[in-house]
Amino acid sequence: MKNEWPLWEVFIRGQHGLSHRHVGSLHAPDAEMAIRNARDVYTRRNEGVSIWVVEARHIAASSPSDKGPLYEPSQSKIYRHPTFFDIPEEAGNM
């Protein structure tokens, strides 16, 4: 579909990270929006994170060897963490 937004690959370096890691992809009409979308989708707005986006078609690969997803939970939205909810032991594993 020629009118589909291009696909971008997203690379993120966390606050204490040493290098950017591939976390996934998303669609955006241009680089500016790709970065904003990446921030919303893959970092839940964590500050101090470095985001690189590259249009998928520009990536030349030898053999696919993705390093795996980087997950950085947002510090301010603590209810995202399973441990925020006090589920009693007797209710069983959750």
């Binding site: 904003r36 919303d40 839940r44 707005r45």
Partner: protein, 253 residues
Amino acid sequence: MDRDSAFFEFLLRMGDNTLVLGHRISEWCGHAPILEEDIALANTALDLIGQTQMWLGLAGEVEGAGRDADALAFTRDFWEFRNALLVELPNGDFGRTMARQFLFDAWQSVQLGKLLKSSDSRVAEIAEKAAKEVAYQVERSAGTVVGLGDGTEESHARMQAAIDYLWPYVGEFFAGDAVDAAMAEAGIAPDPASLRGDFDALVGRVMEEATLNIPEGDFHHKGGRDGARHTEHLGHLLCEMQWLQRAYPGATW
């Protein structure tokens, strides 16, 4: 009007803006033009709810009648609400929603910039937390307004229609009254009219890049910030928002 009452009114104005706008934005969940926007709009709504908890929380403290943010949000009737009319308007199409968002973000960014220097340290603290979020929000909403304004013929037409519809609601943010005068005198918040220059500069730049016209004329609707006359839309919104608490008073959720 004594200082504390004025302060309470001011805090309600800040918190009711974010409460009502956050509610409107949350209506888009699952209905946005593309998945990335569903996620972005949810972020916006979450930021606004967080800011609401801070502003209304402080309002309840200042009022000193034992009402917390939830009590203020879920048990007041329309005549006690102090949001500007702009934010209670229905979402309309995505263009109208994003135009409204940009106009609000633009005002918020200027307002919060001033509140960082509030003589009340609690206000300054809230402003500092909110300012980071709003800096991002205004960048995003401006980008969308530009992208749609200078997009296709259809997107341009819809954005222009949105600006034309919303513009008469902009002036209310800058029309000061006794509450604002008391806040300015106390150094807690700026005189609303003093924000207009920076607001016009920011909005003017974005509208130009978006190839959109700013409507002529000084007329603006009023009655939201002082609660004198809200629109019919607020009642329906409150009906939905407050229903559970009003149907089952005293329950904890």
